[in-house]
């Protein structure tokens, strides 16, 4: 299941209102990471952190806008510096919202077009497999992973969408006809320009055990653990 080498340290930031941090920690541990929770007031990441995950939930009650308050947490300064040095950062759902508010990922997540909270499995298309977040996927594969959000409608203006598309940054899309929230260009997940920060609305950490349905989430989180292991080995 995993490459050789010691378990890479993956930090999971926990904000007041995060509620998928434990699932993320459990999934990452299952996939061979040394997953550690980091409280939002911590000003630094654990020693030897090889990747950071911002989990889903409702940080700071989603007050003002989703992720708008969490981005100013002390831990986010450390995450910003880590990402600036090329560190791997994954934002899931609310974590994705935090990353867009922080300016680490392009676009913004708006209320679903239906105005309804959506909680169900969705079909996803992986557009690229040469990223640290999708390396375990095969080209053109369709994944089934649950979404659960009220504000997952990714938006960017048409010129920016065209630029991101041309640059290959729109890595994860809802399958044709499966867009649950009105996101432009069916975008479910976006990569930053440098390729080390990724955010997505679906929850891979809820899809790692056959008992609960799909195990497709393990392909995405497993890719991250593989990349974290390589980056940890390179740092030694």
């Amino acid at each position: 299941m995993s490459l050789d080498g010691p378990e890479p340290v993956v930090a999971v930031a926990v904000f007041p209102g995060s509620n998928d941090d434990r699932d993320a920690l459990q999934a990452l541990t299952l996939l061979g990471a040394d997953a550690r929770a980091v409280w939002h007031t911590d000003e630094s990441l654990p020693r030897d952190t090889a990747a950071v995950v911002l989990p889903g939930g409702f940080s700071f009650g989603d007050y003002l806008r989703c992720g708008a308050i969490a981005r100013f947490s002390p831990v986010m300064r450390a995450v910003g510096a880590f990402a600036g040095d090329g560190g791997l950062v994954l934002g899931i759902c609310n974590g994705f919202q935090v990353l867009t508010e922080a300016g680490l990922l392009p676009g913004v997540l708006r209320p679903n077009a239906s105005l309804s909270f959506i909680c169900r499995d969705v079909a996803l298309r992986v557009e690229r497999t040469d990223t640290p977040f999708t390396s375990r996927c095969t080209d053109g594969v369709e994944l089934t992973i649950p979404v659960k959000h009220g504000e997952g409608c990714w938006f960017a203006d048409p010129e920016q969408v065209a630029e991101l598309d041309a640059a290959g940054q729109l890595v994860l899309r809802y399958a044709p006809g499966a867009n649950p929230n009105g996101a432009v260009a069916d975008v479910a997940g976006v990569l930053n320009e440098d390729g080390n920060v990724f955010g997505l609305m679906p929850h891979p950490e809820h899809a790692v055990d056959a008992l609960l349905g799909s195990t497709d989430g393990a392909l995405l989180l497993g890719s991250l653990v593989d990349a974290a292991r390589l980056s940890a080995a390179a740092a030694v």
Binding site: L64, R65, A68, F72, E101, G107, V108, R110, P111, N112, A113, S114, L115, F155, A156, G182
Partner: protein, 80 residues
């Protein structure tokens, strides 16, 4: 000094909340066109002169109160 900040979805940005409100108003028998929903934030600013207060509020809007990608804002100062 007291200030009121109005944050609105930018023109051309789809506002599903506004659409739901106008639909409901029509169901109630009101003849309305487009409805847009924004947010009002009342702020007490420590600054005592209007220029300083306005400059601070501009920064508050850019950094936190509005998301400039999708929202526009208007600042009005009381007694100014």
């Amino acid at each position: 000094m007291r200030a009121t900040v109005l944050v609105r979805p930018k023109r051309g940005i789809l506002d599903p909340q506004g659409q739901a409100v106008s639909t409901s108003l029509r169901h109630l028998g009101f003849e309305v066109g487009e409805t847009r929903v924004g947010r009002v934030i009342d702020v007490e600013v420590e600054a005592t002169d209007a220029a300083t207060a306005r400059a601070e509020l501009e920064r508050m809007c850019e950094q936190l109160l509005a998301n400039p990608l999708i929202e526009s804002y208007e600042i009005s100062l009381e007694d100014a």
